[in-house]
């Protein structure tokens, strides 16, 4: 491990915050679980320190312990000190700590949707920290709120004062959160995954904003993230965490130029890569739609007739050939998931859907049921898509049972085969989902789809909830399975890197409509529409620097 102190040429002043040997344990009925072990780092004014790691690495717990926001007394610190302004934050009492929270150290959370109180308008929420820590009159506070909103780039701040959180977009909410954190001009800003919940284009804007605010106000930023692309662009120093421990600590340039630890190297090189296998020219079309349309009624008149609609999907037409992957990309709310659900008749839709040379859109649920085994889906959330009360064998075997395939022994055999195909140990089939990690669960979900030997699998953001390194493995697995079984995929994702690695053709969706479609090569190298270009710019903006050679 290299310490920051060795490269003293970058050290202009003494650190503003020192974390020394910080450990965090969680007390549980079954015993103590150690979440963070012996973490030390320094934070300097006007510099950004990024803490990176995969989920469960203890990075958020570290950040939360700085302001002592963990669920005490369930959480305990067996060792460590956090020195700020000559005081040890771990030893301060609650009133002293309140003087620091929100005033000297500000914090931004991951989820802007739930971090703002939905019942208060934004002026009240921002002014709250001002009134708490400074004795301002309401008029002065309002002036300051408008100043802050201008600072974080909210257009027409005077008109926005009385807006409620639900009237703002995700990016605007995160801007309001930043305004709240910066209201008292803190010395330190802790940003815990500030952009994870945002669309790529918005992500870039928010990070640029943070960068420019740092230049204006000179605060130190502690950036918690799992995204190395962001780190590479915005951090000055990096701490890499793994299983609660600091693996490597270096300046950003040094870390990316020559990572010292094996773990860091795998992390840096874990971008999904490769491209899909080409498909034969004469491959038959397995699934196609013609002017597919999904409208949700918004308002109804007196007689229950809808008078206004949300047009979630508008006139979408495409063809999917055997062995082909069709990527559907777009930001949240673009209707891409809706298409997937409509194809599986989990939502009502209009327009023609042809599956295996048969019109299926007018079939009712019962008539469609025999076809379901040929058309499967894998959902985004590997935690939500497996019933917690069923063992893995039951989950995978359920489809076989429903379609009456094979005897009990044959079904068992096919479950074992499916588990082998997704590279899981078949002996684990009697365990329950909670005993598996996110990546393993997603493999189980794939096995559930695969066991029915489908023709088409709709993959609805199958990698979004997974860590980058696990994503690569899943992408690899999907590609191998496609080649082996001549599967066709509809791959829905907002993550363009993953789509690029897997898709033959790509549809770009915006507000329910196809903006652009074409082969993957064409879309990624020469996008025609400005929207596509913006999307690709934002997504690949972080990966511009050359890859590290190992």
């Amino acid at each position: 491990m290299r310490s920051i102190h060795e490269k003293s040429e970058t050290q202009l002043a003494s650190p503003i915050l020192r974390v020394r040997n910080l450990s965090v344990d969680f007390v549980q009925p079954t015993g103590r679980v150690s979440a963070v072990k012996d973490v030390s780092f320094d934070l300097y004014a006007n510099r950004t320190l990024a803490v990176v790691g995969e989920s469960g690495s203890g990075k958020s717990v570290t950040a939360l312990s700085i302001l002592r926001l963990l669920p005490y007394p369930k959480a305990v610190h067996p060792s460590g000190a956090i020195e700020f302004d000559g005081q040890d934050l771990l030893r301060l009492d609650e009133p002293q700590l309140r003087q620091i929270r929100g005033s000297r150290i500000g914090m931004i959370f991951q989820e802007p949707m739930t971090s703002l109180n939905p019942l208060h308008h934004i002026e009240k929420q921002i002014a709250e920290t001002l009134l708490l820590h400074r004795s301002l009159t309401p008029q002065q506070a309002r002036k300051r709120v408008i100043e802050l909103l201008t600072l974080v780039g909210i257009p027409e701040p005077e008109k926005r004062l009385k807006s409620f959180p639900h009237e703002l977009s995700g990016g605007q909410k995160q801007r309001v959160m930043i305004a709240m954190a910066l209201a008292n001009e803190p010395d330190i800003l802790i940003a815990d995954e500030p952009t994870t919940a945002l669309d790529v284009t918005v992500q870039k804007q928010v990070l640029e904003l943070l960068k420019s605010l740092q230049q204006k106000m000179g605060m130190a930023i502690l950036l918690i993230t799992h995204d190395l692309g962001i780190v590479r662009h915005y951090a000055d120093d990096v701490v890499v965490m793994h299983q609660g421990k600091v693996v490597e600590q270096a300046s950003c340039d040094a870390l990316f130029a020559s990572p010292q630890q094996e773990y860091t190297r795998t992390l840096i090189n874990s971008d999904p890569s490769g491209s899909p296998m080409p498909i034969p020219e004469q491959a038959p079309t397995v699934l196609s739609t013609e002017k597919l349309r999904v409208w949700f009624p918004l308002k109804k008149n007196l007689f229950g007739r809808p008078t206004a609609w949300v047009k979630a999907v508008q006139d979408v037409s495409f063809q999917l050939r055997q062995g082909e992957t069709l990527g559907i990309v777009g930001e949240s709310g673009s209707g891409k998931t809706t298409i997937g659900l409509a194809l599986l008749k989990l939502l009502q839709s209009q327009g023609e859907i042809r599956f295996l040379d048969k019109r299926v859109d007018h079939l009712n649920q019962k008539e469609f049921r025999p076809l379901r085994r040929k058309l499967q889906i894998v959902f985004q959330d590997p935690y939500g898509s497996l019933s917690p009360r069923m063992s893995v064998a039951q989950i995978i075997g359920e489809g076989l049972e429903i379609h009456g395939i094979g005897s009990e022994a044959e079904r068992e055999q096919r479950v074992i085969e499916a588990l082998k195909e997704v590279e899981l140990d078949p002996d684990t089939r009697h365990r329950y989902p909670h005993e598996f990690s996110g990546g393993q669960r997603q493999r189980i979900a794939i096995a559930r789809a695969l066991v029915l030997k489908p023709e088409v699998i709709v993959l609805d953001e199958p990698t979004s909830a997974l860590d980058r390194s696990v994503q690569c493995q899943v992408v690899e697995l999907l590609r191998n399975l496609q080649q082996k079984h001549q599967l066709s995929y509809i791959f829905i994702s907002h993550d363009l890197a993953v789509v690029k690695a897997l898709s033959h053709r790509v549809l770009v969706m915006y507000q329910g409509q196809i903006v652009e479609s074409g082969t993957a090569e064409q879309i990624f190298s020469a996008p025609r529409e400005p929207y596509t270009r913006a999307l690709i710019d934002a997504a690949f903006f972080y990966g511009q620097k050359e890859k590290v050679q190992v």
């Binding site: 599986l344 049921r369 889906i377 959902f379 898509s385 019933s387 009360r389």
Partner: protein
Amino acid sequence: MRQRLSRMLASPINQRRLQNFRANKRGYWSFWIFLVLFILSLGAELIANDNPILVSYQGKLYYPMFKTYPETEFGGFLPTETSFRDPFIIEEIESDGWIIWPLIRYHYDTINYDLQVPAPAPPSRENLLGTDDQGRDVLARLIYGFRISVLFGLVLTIASSIVGVIVGALQGFYGGRIDLYGQRFIEVWSGLPVLYLLIILSSFVQPNFWWLLGIMLLFSWMALVDVVRAEFLRARNFEYVRAARALGASNGLIMFRHMLPNAMVATLTFMPFILTGAITTLTSLDFLGFGLPLGSPSLGELIAQAKANLHAPWLGISVFITLSLMLTLLVFIGEAVRDAFDPRKV
């Protein structure tokens, strides 16, 4: 099927629930005490009866509890049913055999004609908790009353849970119009004055156990509909429910296998409290005189007697202790069940 059931019961979630249930010491012990009391009261005939369990007379064995014998069998004069309360018969048998008596020599409707004082008689060696105003043993009536109350409560709870879960499940699963009309119907139905209806109905028919059960069931099934409906509305959008549908599972299978387990948590948590409610309702109806038929051993009727005979405090005190013990045990059990299913602990 049995294998699947045992595997389901052994699932880690259920094991953790069992642990949580055990961790609540008060509720866990209440559960065992209640179970023992309930099983004992199920065999009330063996504990409190005016017929002996076993009689040996002239080398022959008799089972008077299960079979009626004419008096002539035991040296009596009339071919009528033997009354084992008759001192003459007892003397006759014991001269050439033996008798095994139950713990308490009174059935709930046995009238003690040998009272030294006018009924209600205070506690004595013969009647441990005294007699009521018709000379019947209070302890025997309490044992039988406990049994009938708990049985009534259990049957009502289970029946109304089944109806409630089905209605709630259908409303929550299908939503839309079914849900709308169902909810409006329940609102109207729950607005009906239950007590008056019971009083009116009990003037049409002579209410027995099953009549009362049926009438109360008409109104008690609504307790669970709202929770179950809410659970189903929530579960409808779960991804694993969607996944099951994508696999081609039928509506019935989805409801039964994937959604019902969620709703069962709420249902089981509510059940002990519905049970206490049912017992209390039966007791209060009996107290008002609209409950079980005359002469049945019921706790409510005993309370009514206690109210009419304030000079006989043993009536009120013993029924009060029985009722409060029973309800307290049930509430403690209910708390433990609630702990066991607490999602924050699971």
